[in-house]
């Protein structure tokens, strides 16, 4: 109770890197599952969609592997890669950081967007990638989501977005905040056109992405064990000066509280999405 006098309880949109779901061991051909401690052969990881064979823990997954695992082979058509990240606040070192990340991850920005097919049905799809500045949303991520949704509204396509983001991109300041309004407005128009929007929340989904397009799906799916929330757990812990309950802000916690339609194991995701699309065709 005492703390309430000292500190106001508020949150701001902060990227909150949390590494527990990262199967990210760069050297050697074996990695140890951080959950069950079993050794996993690295090359087998991609074949198992980055899921631990023994305890079924879902590791983080890069955007390209996700598209491979969801879409019919060879159907992905990437779009909107001509957009350039602009250092609108003239933030020191930002341009260099973006350039280095592009080289390192071979990504255009924090999300891949385009069209593809799932069991023959065409969809507009966006997949965020947490390797790119924690999938944070600046003007390019916001613009790609908006263009994707607007294109889908025009072409009468359903939209599927996989979220993975620490929130707003600090280096773009208030312009990042505006992306939340911009993307939400585009989704509203898509919805008003009677079209289907599905979000798949993956680890981690927090901050300004949770508080905009992640939570606006007609149907919201989540991968097991994902961290999903508005404020990051560290920020909450520091604010309330209390340990957080077990399982707080997991996909399971969100479903329990009514904010997620269904938790779907990665191996069932493609068939689940396909089934949902079929129900709306």
């Amino acid at each position: 109770m005492k703390n309430i006098f000292k500190k106001t309880h508020y949150i701001q949109l902060t990227p909150n890197p949390k590494n527990t779901n990262e199967a990210n061991v760069p050297t050697g051909s074996w990695i140890k599952c951080p959950n069950c401690h079993e050794l996993i052969y690295k090359k087998a990881l991609k074949d198992s969609d980055f899921v631990c064979g023994s305890c079924k823990k879902h590791f983080r997954m890069d955007a390209e592997s996700r598209l491979d695992s969801i879409l019919d082979e060879g159907t992905f058509l990437e779009m909107f890669t001509e957009l350039k990240t602009v250092n609108v606040l003239n933030f020191k070192g930002y341009d260099e950081k973006i350039k280095a990340l592009k080289t390192k991850t071979k990504l255009h920005e924090g999300i891949m967007t385009g069209t593809g097919k799932i069991e023959g049905r065409e969809v507009a799809i966006g997949v965020m990638d947490s390797r790119f500045l924690m999938g944070s949303m600046g003007a390019v991520v916001g613009e790609k989501v908006t263009l994707l949704v607007e294109m889908a509204t025009e072409a009468l396509l359903p939209v599927i977005i996989y979220t993975a983001s620490g929130g707003a991109r600090m280096q773009e300041g208030i312009i990042s905040l505006m992306q939340m309004a911009k993307t939400s407005a585009a989704i509203k128009r898509h919805s008003d056109a009677g079209l289907l929007y599905i979000t798949v929340l993956t680890d981690p989904t927090t901050g300004g992405v949770t508080a905009s397009f992640a939570m606006l799906g007609d149907i919201i799916l989540a991968e097991p064990g994902s961290l999903i929330g508005f404020a990051g757990p560290r920020v909450i812990r520091d604010t309330i000066k209390q340990e957080l309950p077990d399982g707080f802000q997991t996909a399971e916690f969100l479903m329990e509280h009514g904010f997620v339609d269904k938790i779907v194991h990665r191996e069932d995701m493609r068939s689940t999405l396909s089934g949902l699309l079929k129900m709306h065709s």
Binding site: Q12, A139, I175, S176, A211, M215, G229, V235, H257
Partner: protein, 262 residues
């Protein structure tokens, strides 16, 4: 004036809060409570009022004055319940064709276990989504602090204004300094580059208008400032009310659509 001086002014203890503006700018205020889902969040005050001769819906973030009041309003940081109350009243305003005025003054949305349990992210997202297409004029004024998504959830509007010494930012300067410079105490040194002052935001087209504050301090000649705001609000609401609903909503869409840099 340096940005940091404005941060201090925006947070100053005797800076007028929403209820004082409500008192001077509006007549016949009738407060309406509750989100019809869970509770009545006192960080957001909402209801019906007259702005001159115009019937409006007013929604305001209130930080509170005395400690007990501040605590009851959790220092102006709304719970999801507050945002849902705001949305309920905005939908009601749309039904009865009343313009909406939002007063913004928050460090950010409430941070805590209960806010996460009740879907803080969903509540904010829903407001952005619905406000983008409401068929009545919406004007939001940042009177003190405009903290992040907690402020934006009441600021998807036809125009957003700021008082001269208000701030509007993605994160508190302390939080920004702590993330990007690993040292929150560097906030006064780096706050300029965040571009959080009314002037900066006018240049970035994030806001349309700056309301001047008296040099002696807004608390000294408060009524004067509030009267200026009242006059400007009446003029703008009259102007926006002339637009047909489709034009109004399309213009609002374009207002946010422009934040693209290539």
């Amino acid at each position: 004036m340096k940005a940091w001086d404005r941060v201090l002014k925006a947070r100053k203890k005797d800076r007028p809060t929403s209820l004082e503006y409500l008192d001077v700018i509006f007549d016949s205020f009738i407060e309406l409570h509750g989100d019809r889902l869970y509770s009545d969040d006192k960080a957001i005050v909402g209801g019906l009022a007259k702005l001159g001769d115009i019937k409006v819906t007013v929604i305001a973030q209130e930080k509170g004055k005395k400690l007990k009041d501040k605590m009851a309003r959790h220092f102006g940081s709304p719970l999801p319940d507050g945002y849902r109350k705001a949305l309920r009243l905005m939908k009601q305003a749309e039904k009865f064709n009343r313009p909406i005025i939002c007063l913004i003054d928050t460090q950010g949305a409430f941070c805590g276990i209960e806010a996460e349990e009740r879907g803080q992210g969903e509540a904010i997202a829903r407001n952005l989504y619905e406000m983008s297409a409401l068929k009545v004029p919406i004007i939001s004024i940042i009177i003190g602090e405009g903290g992040s998504g907690g402020a934006l959830a009441l600021a998807v509007s036809d125009e957003v204004w700021m008082l001269e010494n208000a701030i509007y930012s993605i994160l508190s300067p302390e939080g920004f300094a702590s993330i990007l410079y690993k040292d929150g105490s560097k906030a006064p040194l780096i706050v300029d580059e965040m571009k959080i002052t009314a002037n900066d935001l006018l240049n970035l087209k994030v806001i349309e208008k700056i309301i001047d504050e008296p040099e002696e301090g807004i608390e000294v000649h408060f009524d004067q400032t509030a009267e200026v705001m009242k006059k400007a609000l009446i003029e703008k609401i009259e102007e926006l009310s002339l637009l047909d609903k489709t034009t109004l909503v399309n213009r609002r869409y374009d207002r946010y659509r422009q934040f693209t840099y290539e």
